[in-house]
Amino acid sequence: MIEFSKIVLENELKVIHHYDASTPFIIVNVLYHIGAKDEDENRTGFAHLFEHLMFGGTKLFPNFDHPLQDAGGENNAFTNNDYTNYYDVIPKENIETALCLEADRMLDLDINEQSLKVQKDVVCEEFKEHYINQPYGDAWHKLRALVYEQHPYKWPTIGKNLKQIEEATLQDVRDFYAAYYSPSNAILVISGNIEKENAFSLTEKYFGHLKSKTVQHKAFSEPEQQVAKTQTTYSDVPLNAIFIAFKITDKKNKDYYTADTITDILSTGTSSRLYQNLIKKEKAFVEIDAYITGSNDVGMFVIEGKIAEDCSVERAESLIWNELEQLQKELISAKELQKIKNKMLTYMAFSESSLMNRTVALAHFELLGDANQINQEIDAYEKVSAEAIQTFANAYLIKSRSNTLYYLKQQ
């Protein structure tokens, strides 16, 4: 049971406190409800570029990092399709430094031409390092575009291409900041070695005076898929690879936990089905994995594998389908289901032992509507039945809903 308290300030900032006296640190985590899905299709990669600019300093703090480092802390941030999350881990003595820095950059960011120019270059280098200069690096660009027809999940957080990042202007940046960065669009979590009263009164001190803005969020839809889609791409890679993806539910639906359980049946642990059957027994793959994206809206269930040199793509693909058909036809045994649940319980126990994980999860669940869902997760996994797995496999993991990307080596 993860205990926490929640208040909402007058300016609509949601604040969650979670106490852990066993650590000498406090984490200040600020989640903004702004992700790649809120971007204009011609300005993709912008939410992530903006995350970089949030470290550009303010009038009060010309450098964001220095005061935090000087206080013995460290900080970082990440952006995904749904939100942008900033966190500071700081020795408990210096909690006010972190709060002051975060409150200050919520509305007073000093955005200038020079810092935009540098961060555009940095992000372009990041794009090249992770998505161009890596074998299979652009696979997710292709896969998202294949899977989603309307939903902005069809582009990745880093952006569709370098050009759109290079074209970002100072005015775009200012408009974006004005539109989305506001106490009313943020969730603050303060966790670690600080008592509740102190956490809430310091929050009032540093964030209470910030002016709220009205933030508009677009609603997105994605049509049900009726027909299988495929795409083939050739690239300078050493092994053929295959990605098979299915659209599934959002994280709030109980089917999400069924989907996650199925990915564990398929590929978690060395006794998992794909590992044992497709790598060890059939020797068709050298690597294979199944996972879900955990998105707030329509997510993806993905199986991806690198195919052994002496196995044809057709054979590799049909072996994956055999495994999916197995899930559709046969109920998973009680023993195997218990194995998966034991894995999940252990995974959750280790994950929850980390203050950082608890902190980000509280923020994320609050974004989804209720931080207390963090305490329902184990129950949700426990409730997944063999029948639910079979029903899910028959409803979702079927040919007509599949999206297959063949990522092949150049002939």
């Binding site: 020795p91 390092e129 161009i132 200069n133 649940k341």
Partner: protein, 419 residues
């Protein structure tokens, strides 16, 4: 808004583990923390690449450490572990082989039984070895397409030599040569009760201690290993290596030299110097090359302490057309470190940041265990943890400049570029 003043952080205390010895003399270090019903256990063997007679024998042994016994198939062993929700695996490093367990504490006993099986009964079936070889070659094909991977391995090969355990590369020929008998010989002569230390952290209750004794005391493998490895470092005299890779948009750079480990008296001060130079986001390399010039997504330097040596290196990836200017800026920063005194503000900033990182290493049983283990592996008394903190608190600009002059002169550096 008023800027709150920065407070000094409290004393950094390294809580020492409880220590005991099993009846078969295996030392056990215990880091207790019963907040969560979980634990981590490492059985660390003084072995690794260092004690190989055939290259890659340690890697292959580790990868096949659940590959089957006379009575159990590979699947049965793996399934038994997964059934407990646990992870149990053997990994290798340059100087260690480590059997690691992560599990709910209530499942420790069956996990230990399985660990004992993996340490004593594995028969290394030939067909499992063939699958391992095939998949290792395939993964190597993918890695060989990555400039950062290549730059790192070529760099270590350059400074330590093609045959040295810290330097040798995985290649197809070596994978092909891995021999089943050699794996078995390595297994039987290195995974010894007389050659290991146990570290356990988390919810280690009285039951757990009894289970450790009752299961691991049956680990009797003590055959004497007569192999005394002699490894000679053969550093390439060529200071600059440039490997072209068609179609790559970026180049990966590794630049550095053999240096030292925690046994060296300069260690604590050098860590501070490295932090200022390239060890954190506020470092000179990051400030200049990323934050000022936008030449890279990341650039950092680090000291990698090993049991018998250590190496220090700068790592970055940059656009090929910006490579020259990037190297030029690195050289300017190396020069500055030797020719200019660092300001007190800059030292204080890095010092405070670094003290926060030392504090982090004492945060919870798992962090304490990882830190303590690294000291034991390198043969350094944990008391030095405090000594290094004192060094970091007391270092001044003159001392840091002397260190830079002693260790970081440009003409002592090897440079490897791939891309």
């Amino acid at each position: 808004m008023n800027i709150p003043p920065i407070q000094a952080i409290g004393a950094i205390q390294f809580t020492l583990p409880k220590q005991l010895q099993l009846s078969n003399q295996i030392p056990v270090y215990i880091f207790n923390d019963d907040k969560n019903p979980i634990l981590k256990l490492d059985i660390v063997f003084d072995a690794g690449r260092w004690t190989e007679e055939q290259k890659l024998a340690a890697d292959a042994m580790a990868a096949l450490s659940k590959s089957g016994t006379k009575n159990l198939s590979s699947f049965e062993i793996n399934e038994a572990i997964d059934q407990l929700g646990a992870t149990l695996k053997i990994g290798t490093g340059y100087n260690t082989c480590t059997l690691s367990i992560s599990c709910l504490s209530k499942f420790l006993e069956p996990c230990l039984e399985l660990a004992l099986t993996c340490l004593t009964d594995i028969v290394f079936p030939e067909n499992e070895l063939q699958i391992f070889k095939k998949n290792t070659k395939a993964k190597l094909l993918v890695n060989n397409e990555k400039t950062d991977y290549l730059s790192g391995v070529i760099f270590r090969e350059t400074i330590f030599g093609k045959e040295h355990p810290y330097g040798y590369r995985t290649n197809n020929e070596r994978i092909e040569q891995i021999d089943r008998n050699e794996i078995i010989r390595y297994y039987q002569s290195n995974l010894l009760a007389s050659n290991c230390t146990v570290f356990i952290a988390g919810d280690v209750n009285e039951n757990c201690l009894n289970q450790l004794e009752s299961v691991l005391s049956r680990f009797k493998n003590t055959s004497v290993n007569n192999f005394k490895p002699q490894h000679i470092i053969q550093t390439d005299s060529n200071l600059k290596i440039r490997e072209k890779k068609a179609k790559s948009t970026q180049a990966s750079l590794t630049m550095g030299k053999i240096l030292f480990n925690k046994q060296n008296k300069d260690y604590g001060n050098f860590i501070l110097l490295n932090t200022i130079f390239g060890g954190y986001f506020g470092s000179r390399l990051m400030s200049n090359i990323r934050e000022d010039k936008g030449l890279t997504y990341g650039i950092y330097s680090m000291l990698n302490p090993l049991k018998h040596d250590g190496f220090w290196a700068i790592y970055t990836d940059t656009n090929i057309d910006k490579l020259d200017i990037c190297i030029q800026e690195i050289e300017i920063e190396l020069d500055r470190l030797q020719n200019e005194l660092i300001s007190e503000n800059e030292i204080q900033l890095a010092r405070n940041y670094l003290l926060g990182r030392f504090l982090k290493r004492t945060d919870g049983a798992f962090n304490l265990m990882e830190t303590f283990k690294s000291y034991i592996i390198e043969g350094v008394d944990i008391q030095h943890f405090g000594t290094f903190i004192e060094d970091i608190k007391n270092a001044d600009a003159k001392l840091l400049q002397n260190l830079a002059q002693k260790y970081l002169s440009l003409n002592s550096m090897h440079q490897v570029i791939v891309g």
